[in-house]
């Protein structure tokens, strides 16, 4: 018996789930081996009420004046700077893109999905001289803007690992979507996230801390996502190619040392994970594995700045949040400007986009500085930043290379051809094969229906990410299994009902059917040559429907469909 105790104690020490921690197996969970130990453990994990600290005077982000804004002026500044660099390098820019290129690109970049056939047609047939400007405004006001940005941000804030598999995902997705759609100033957005306190139910932003329950994940993530700095190397050693020292890392980490994220429970076993949340306490967190082995305890210190003075009775995160999101923070505005630029051009002024340091020089330093200054001066207005870039000629250039600029990778002489993200591809396929319409019809019929309308989308996204951490729009990373699925699965591309969206009537003229099909998938009409070729293809097929099915299959598997040109 003595030996057994010894073993049980050892098992606890190495993190074996004898006592049933959060990582215990879903089935066959062992019962309590040592009650005393478990209770002791529980008392530590449970943030007792008296320990919780609240600010005496709540710190808030600095409110910025928001004067008249002129997106066109900023667009002109962008073009002046980009053109100056092109001229200096004697690289000729490509001409502006056609309306066909523009409409598909801007829908995908801003709302994450291709335009429907009707939307494409309306834009292409418009005689309005301001049609591009108007479309940009419409799309920025479209609720899919928030959805698109939530798709981009969610995987960063909620990395897939075993420790957070029971944490609820939907509340954070909804929080992100709503905040982006409401155009919450970026400093307020980030301050709210970094300082999030309370339960998931009351404040879904706390999900970030529940999904990243260790001080190093929080330090790495916050620095990387919001300051554009890769700090993680400095966790264990002084960073080899930047100035970040190990003490700098742990100075930042110290702001999170008193965060108490609760343990999510297995929802299938009756745990209600809307009721768990995050508090800050007076003492350092004692959660298992919250501090890595390499952890050092130093005074809280702003990255590259001064030590922070924080009373023990005060929460630390608002102090960090206020520093991070202040208009004069050297990293904050630049990081978001660089990210936004990369979202719209495929690559940033600095690449990798979240690895900004002195040795990694921006392609357009003056422009990045100017845009960052403008971003903070304009109250960190994200939609305004988007609009200014979308209005620029640089954004609106064709992605066809022109003579002499084929090799240019950094001067933005022509737009990048980008690969659709898995989310963009799923939503665009669902729309052009009728799945989206079927789901919408079902929901309209029975709006209270429970279930997981996102199930197939999530599966598709995971299948296409294939375990990759992040999606890179300038890399074609789909492999054999993904190509097989697109070619041969009966879902999406292989949906036999899809052809009927375009061949609505057996007597429809080929020209009309093909035009509907091309507009709804490639956002353009077929060229004269394509019309001739596809018409003769359809007429020589076993049946017309089979022929149209073949054409649609080829379009949906093509580079032109899969990519943003």
């Amino acid at each position: 018996m003595k030996l057994f105790r010894l073993l049980a104690a050892f098992a606890l020490a190495v993190g074996v789930t004898v006592a049933g921690g959060d990582l215990s197996p879903a089935q066959d969970a062992p019962k309590v081996a040592d009650k005393k130990n478990k209770n002791k453990n529980k008392a530590k994990l449970d943030p007792a009420a008296p320990m919780v600290v609240r600010p005496v005077v709540p710190l808030t982000p600095i409110v910025l004046p928001s004067g008249p804004k002129d997106a066109a002026a900023l667009a002109r500044l962008i073009d002046a700077e980009v053109d100056k660099a092109l001229a200096a390098a004697t690289v000729a820019p490509s001409p502006l893109c056609s309306d066909e290129e523009f409409v598909r690109r801007v829908y995908l970049d801003v709302t994450g999905v291709i335009p429907t056939g009707e939307q494409a047609k309306a834009f292409l047939d418009s005689k309005d001289g301001q049609r591009r400007e108007k479309l940009i405004d419409d799309l920025l006001a479209n609720p899919n803007f928030g959805k698109r940005l939530a798709d981009v941000w969610f995987p960063k804030l909620f990395p897939r690992d075993s420790g957070n598999r029971f944490v609820l995902r939907d509340p954070l997705v909804k929080w992100l979507t709503d905040k982006f759609n409401a155009n919450t100033p970026w400093n307020v957005f980030v301050f709210d996230l970094v300082t999030a306190t309370g339960t998931v139910e009351d404040n879904p932003a706390v999900t970030y801390f529940l999904a990243n329950r260790s001080v190093d994940k929080l330090t790495d993530g916050i620095s990387q996502h919001f300051l554009g700095i890769q700090l993680q190397c400095a966790q264990c050693h002084n960073h080899p190619f930047t100035d970040w020292k190990q003490t700098e890392y742990w100075g930042m980490a110290e702001f999170f040392a008193r965060v108490q994220p609760q343990n999510p429970k297995n929802g299938n076993k009756g745990g209600d994970n809307t009721k768990i949340g995050v508090q800050e306490t007076a003492g350092r967190t004692k959660l298992k594995d919250f501090f890595p082995e390499s952890a050092k305890q130093v005074a809280p210190k702003f990255l590259g700045g001064a030590e922070a003075k924080i009373d023990a009775g005060q929460p630390a995160r608002p102090v960090l949040g206020r520093w991070m999101t202040a208009p004069d923070n050297p990293f904050f505005a630049k990081a978001m400007v660089n990210r936004t630029w990369a979202a719209l051009f495929g690559s940033g002024f600095v690449n990798p986009i979240d690895d900004m340091h002195d040795g990694n020089t921006p392609s357009h330093p003056a422009l990045l500085d100017a845009m960052a200054r403008d971003f903070s001066r304009n109250g960190f207005d994200v939609k305004f930043l988007y609009k200014s870039v979308l209005l620029s000629r640089a954004y609106q250039r064709t992605s066809k290379p022109a003579a002499g600029n084929e090799k240019d990778e950094t001067l933005f002489s022509h737009q990048a051809v980008k690969v659709m993200s898995p989310e963009q591809l799923f939503d665009s396929l669902a729309q052009s094969t009728g799945l989206a319409q079927q789901v919408a019809a079902k929901q309209a019929k029975n709006p209270m229906a429970k279930g997981q309308p996102n199930g197939p989308r999530d599966q598709f996204v995971q299948f296409f990410l294939a375990g990759a951490e992040a999606f890179t729009p300038t890399e074609y990373e789909a492999g054999i299994p993904q190509a097989l699925r697109l070619m041969n699965s009966k879902q999406l591309v292989g949906n036999p009902a899809a052809v009927r969206l375009y061949q609505q009537n057996a007597k429809d003229e080929p020209r009309a059917v093909l035009e509907r099909m091309y507009l709804a998938t490639l956002s353009r009409r077929p060229t004269a040559a394509e019309l001739t070729r596809m018409t003769s293809y359809v007429q020589s097929a076993g049946t017309q429907t089979e022929g149209y099915g073949d054409v649609l299959w080829a379009i949906l598997n093509s580079s032109e469909f899969t990519m943003i040109r």
């Binding site: 030996l3 073993l7 098992a11 190495v14 993190g15 074996v16 789930t17 004898v18 990582l23 197996p25 089935q27 066959d28 969970a29 062992p30 019962k31 075993s162 598999r165 190093d216 994940k217 890769q230 966790q235 264990c236 495929g346 690559s347 990798p352 690895d355 992605s399 290379p401 990778e409 051809v417 690969v419 294939a466 375990g467 990759a468 951490e469 300038t474 890399e475 074609y476 990373e477 789909a478 492999g479 054999i480 299994p481 190509a483 097989l484 699925r485 070619m487 041969n488 699965s489 292989g494 070729r533 097929a541 073949d550 299959w553 080829a554 379009i555 598997n557 093509s558 580079s559 990519m563």
Partner: protein, 426 residues
């Protein structure tokens, strides 16, 4: 924008001569490839393929390969002699007992993680989950990158019946092809339409690709084309039949036993025969907190039949020396028998446990490491995760000290801080 990775891929494609081949030429590509099998350049005594038999849940070492008949938690099973002098294993692995002269037992495994997900991650990648803020490639992805032949129509990493772990920062190129159910083969491998219609569709697609590439000249278009070509080659390749178990004669199928694991191991043999460098086959059910003896007896029978059939078949085909077969899970189980459930079981135990290997140029009959009387502590020859993975690398000619670069340029050694025990087993 052509970054480094793209450029590298592009160069590879160009070197292979597939970059410029139109999709409509897929039959020609196939024919050309079939006649151009590269000569085996690997030195002797080096495994060219690895089969990982993954025992999901953590098998009890004291009830399989490290029996302790005189200990307190000895359990119900009796040790039996094997074809390796002085080496005894469980009575429920009788066929493997006759093959231990081809095998090596590692009884000194001692690893840091005791929770399933983190332990599986650690044993597959050699790193701890979350370490340094990276996602690390699993052994299968490393083998795919180091041993895979780019010209092969088959993927270099196939995982049967389990989720395994992916390629992490090495990128999607080395992701496993997942086969959920061996009897059903690869998902979506067959066209839902006739061959001639499929050919017509590919012809249309090829025309569209040529037109788009002509205008935009983006390397991404070439990458897209190459991937589709590889997928179509897999659909058409003779080697693709390795995934089709209906092609296997009934008699040779029967040797493997019945069930999904048996089918998966059979598929592994078929894949090794056509040169796939890494196949992982999962057998679940080893998390025996309750009813350990009945369950391990049943699982042992499945392992015994399928693994012995695999080893026999590989030997008959002259592939045993070039194929390393590994049997392991994420940890062992407690030396003591618990009494928490109605029927006794054993709990997680990473401190001392066993794994087994066969073939791959190993000098058979060896045992690495020794546990104490209880099977609770490694007394001699302790082997950590990195030590074991580095050994596997050395056995298959992979330089485990090679540094791969992450997308942000961090150099990460394939296996870090390792003391391989290769010299003890070859």
């Amino acid at each position: 924008m052509l970054n480094d990775v793209t450029r590298r891929k592009f160069a590879q494609c160009a070197a292979l001569g597939v970059g410029g081949v139109g999709l409509s030429g897929w039959l020609d590509v196939l024919a050309a490839r079939a006649s151009a099998q590269p000569a085996a350049a690997a030195p002797a005594r080096r495994a060219r393929s690895i089969v990982l038999l993954w025992m999901d849940g953590g098998p009890s070492h004291k009830d399989t390969f490290d029996l302790k008949p005189d200990s307190r938690g000895a359990g119900e099973f009796k040790p039996v002699a094997t074809s390796a002098p002085g080496v005894q294993i469980s009575e429920h692995l009788p066929k493997l007992a006759k093959l231990m002269h081809h095998g090596v037992l590692v009884r000194g495994m001692s690893t840091p993680e005791g929770a399933h997900p983190r332990a599986k991650y650690n044993l597959h990648t050699g790193y701890r989950e979350g370490q340094g803020g990276l996602v690390y490639p699993s052994l299968g992805a490393i083998a795919a990158a180091e041993l895979g032949r780019p010209e092969s129509p088959l993927p270099a990493f196939v995982s049967v019946g389990g989720r395994s772990f992916g390629s992490g920062f090495l990128g999607p190129r080395y992701q496993p092809l997942m086969v959920q159910d061996a009897s059903r083969g690869v998902e979506d491998l067959r066209a839902t339409i006739g061959e001639s219609q499929f050919g017509r569709r590919m012809g249309l697609l090829d025309e569209m690709e040529q037109a788009f590439h002509g205008e935009y000249r983006a390397p991404l278009v070439t990458d897209h084309q190459t991937t589709y070509q590889r997928a179509v080659r897999l659909m058409q390749a003779r080697e693709g039949q390795a995934f089709d178990l209906s092609k296997e004669p009934a008699a040779s199928k029967a040797k493997y036993g019945t069930g999904k694991f048996a089918e998966g191991v059979l598929m592994a043999r078929r894949l090794v025969e056509v040169g796939v460098p890494f196949v992982e086959v999962t057998l679940g059910g080893w998390d025996t907190h309750n009813d350990v003896f009945t369950r391990v007896r049943n699982l042992s029978a499945q392992v015994d039949n399928a693994t012995s059939a695999l080893l026999d078949d590989l030997r008959e085909r002259g592939l045993l020396d070039s194929t390393l077969v590994i049997w392991m899970g994420e940890f062992g189980r407690t030396p003591n028998i618990n009494s928490r459930g109605p029927i006794p079981g054993r709990d997680h135990y990473p401190r001392a446990w066993s794994l087994a290997m066969w073939g791959g140029g190993l000098r058979g009959g060896r045992v690495v490491g020794r546990t104490d009387r209880e099977g609770a502590t490694v007394e001699d020859g302790k082997v950590g995760t990195a030590d074991f993975l580095a050994t596997v690398c050395e056995l298959s000619g992979i330089d485990y000290t090679k540094k791969n670069e992450t997308p942000t340029g961090r150099p990460i050694q394939i296996v870090d801080k390792a003391k391989p025990f290769t010299s003890l087993v070859v």
